[in-house]
C-alpha cells in the first residue's frame, strides 16, 4: 500500500491487494516486457515529503515512468491500466466520501500529463478489488472479495468496463 514495484521478469506477478478508494496504476511496455504497478492512496502529495513514491497520484505516475524506463521501456510505447477508486461507504468524516473519485481524477490527469493512454480500467463502484499484473503474458486480472479472478486486459487497445458489467 502506497508502494511501487517494477519488473521485467516474465514469471513475475505484480499485485495490489485490497484496493478500495485506492487505485492500482499499471504501466507497461509490451514490446520490452517491462511493467510497473503503484498502489495510489491519495490524490496529491501536498507536504508529505517522506511518503513512499506510490502513495500519491501526482508523484506515483512520474515515479512509475522512471522505474520502467530504468528497465529499458520506451516512453512512447507505455500503456496504462487502472483499477480501484471505489466508494465503499456512504458515511465518513473529513473527505472520506469522494476519495475514490478524486483519486481517479488525479491518476487520469497525471497519466494525461505524461501522454500515456489508459488501455483498460475498472474504476468506481462500491466493492474492493485485488489487481494482478502478470508480467509474462502482460495481462491484468481483477478479483473482488468473494468473486472470481476476471481478465481485464490482454493487450487489446481499449477495454472499459463499468462496475455494473462486472457484478457477478
Amino acid at each position: 500500500m502506497g508502494e511501487l514495484a517494477a519488473s521485467a521478469s516474465p514469471e513475475e506477478e505484480l499485485t495490489s491487494i485490497g484496493l478500495g478508494s485506492c487505485i492500482g496504476v499499471a504501466l507497461v511496455d509490451r514490446a520490452r516486457g517491462v511493467a510497473a504497478l503503484a498502489h495510489v492512496m491519495l490524490p496529491d502529495a501536498a507536504a508529505d515529503h517522506d511518503a513512499p513514491a506510490g502513495k500519491y497520484a501526482d508523484r506515483a505516475v512520474p515515479a512509475l515512468v522512471r522505474e520502467v524506463e530504468a528497465l529499458g521501456a520506451r516512453r512512447v510505447r507505455l500503456e496504462a491500466v487502472i483499477v480501484g477508486g471505489a466508494q465503499m461507504f456512504d458515511v465518513g468524516v473529513g473527505s472520506a466520501l469522494d476519495i475514490g473519485a478524486r483519486n481517479a481524477t488525479a491518476v487520469r490527469a497525471a497519466l494525461a500529463q505524461q501522454r500515456i493512454p489508459v488501455r483498460a480500467e475498472e474504476v468506481g463502484g462500491r466493492r474492493g478489488r485485488t489487481m494482478r499484473l502478470h508480467v509474462g503474458p502482460m495481462t491484468v486480472t481483477v478479483k473482488e472479495a468473494g468473486g472470481r479472478e476476471v481478465e481485464l486486459w490482454n493487450g487489446s487497445p481499449s477495454t472499459r468496463r463499468s462496475p455494473a458489467e462486472v457484478m457477478h
Binding site: L42, V91, L97, G128
Partner: protein
C-alpha cells in the same frame, strides 16, 4: 483535505500520550464488552487494547491481512471529536453472531442485526469516552459493508487522516465466551480529533 496547521507526526505522540489513549480505549471497549455480554447473555473477554501511531500504509497493514474478507460496521462520530468507530468481524464470526441472535447470516436481516450490534457497541464505547474526557460526542447511523479488510481500512483512514501522514488507531479485541466469535473494535480519530482527545486527557501538545 488540506493538511492541518501544526498537525502532529509520528514522533509527536509520546509514550505518555499513547498510554493515555490506550487507557481511554480500554475503558471504552470495556463498556462495549459489557453491553455485548448483556445482549448475548454470555461472558465477553477483552484483550489489552493497542494504540498505534503509524504512517497510513503501515496502519492499514497493522490492522490485519489486506485480502481477508470481513464484515464491518462503521459508525461516524461527530461533535467535539470527529472520528470513526469501526467494528470488524471475520465473516465466519459474523455468521456465529447472527446465529446467537437467531437471525440468518448474509441476509438483509442478518446485516441489519450486525449493524445494530455495531450501533449499540459503538455507542457504549463513545459514551464512555465522552464521560471520561468530558466530550460532547454524537454517533451517526451505522453502515455495514462486507469486503476486503485492506480496502475497508484504507478507504476509511485516507478520509480521517488524509495527507497528514500519520494514522492513529485504537484497537481492541472482544471475544465471546463458548462461541467462535471475536471482533475487533477500532477508533479512528481525525488528526484534529486526536489533538482534541489528548488535550482533554491533559496530555496535549499545546
Amino acid at each position: 483535505m488540506p493538511p492541518q496547521e501544526g498537525a502532529p507526526n509520528v514522533s509527536d505522540y509520546t509514550d505518555l500520550q499513547l498510554d493515555a489513549l490506550r487507557e481511554l480505549a480500554n475503558i471504552g471497549s470495556g463498556t462495549a464488552a459489557t453491553a455485548l455480554a448483556s445482549m448475548l447473555g454470555r461472558e465477553v473477554e477483552l484483550a489489552v487494547p493497542r494504540a498505534l501511531a503509524l504512517p497510513l500504509a503501515d496502519a492499514v497493514d497493522a490492522v490485519g491481512p489486506a485480502d481477508v474478507t470481513v464484515s464491518s460496521v462503521v459508525l461516524p462520530i461527530t461533535g467535539d471529536v470527529e472520528a470513526l468507530v469501526l467494528l470488524l468481524f471475520p465473516t465466519a464470526d459474523a455468521a456465529t453472531l447472527c446465529g446467537l441472535l437467531g437471525v440468518e447470516p448474509g441476509t438483509e436481516v442478518g446485516d441489519s442485526a450486525i449493524g445494530e450490534i455495531g450501533n449499540i457497541l459503538g455507542t457504549s464505547y463513545i459514551n464512555a469516552l465522552a464521560s471520561m474526557a468530558s466530550l460532547a460526542l454524537e454517533p451517526k447511523p451505522p453502515h455495514v459493508v462486507t469486503d476486503m479488510l485492506g480496502a475497508i481500512v484504507a478507504s476509511l483512514l485516507t478520509g480521517t487522516v488524509g495527507e497528514t501522514g500519520t494514522a492513529l488507531v485504537l484497537d481492541s479485541e472482544l471475544d465471546v465466551a463458548d462461541a467462535a466469535c471475536s471482533l475487533s473494535f477500532l477508533l479512528l480519530p481525525t488528526t484534529g480529533g486526536v489533538a482534541e482527545l489528548l488535550g482533554r486527557l491533559g496530555v496535549g501538545n499545546a
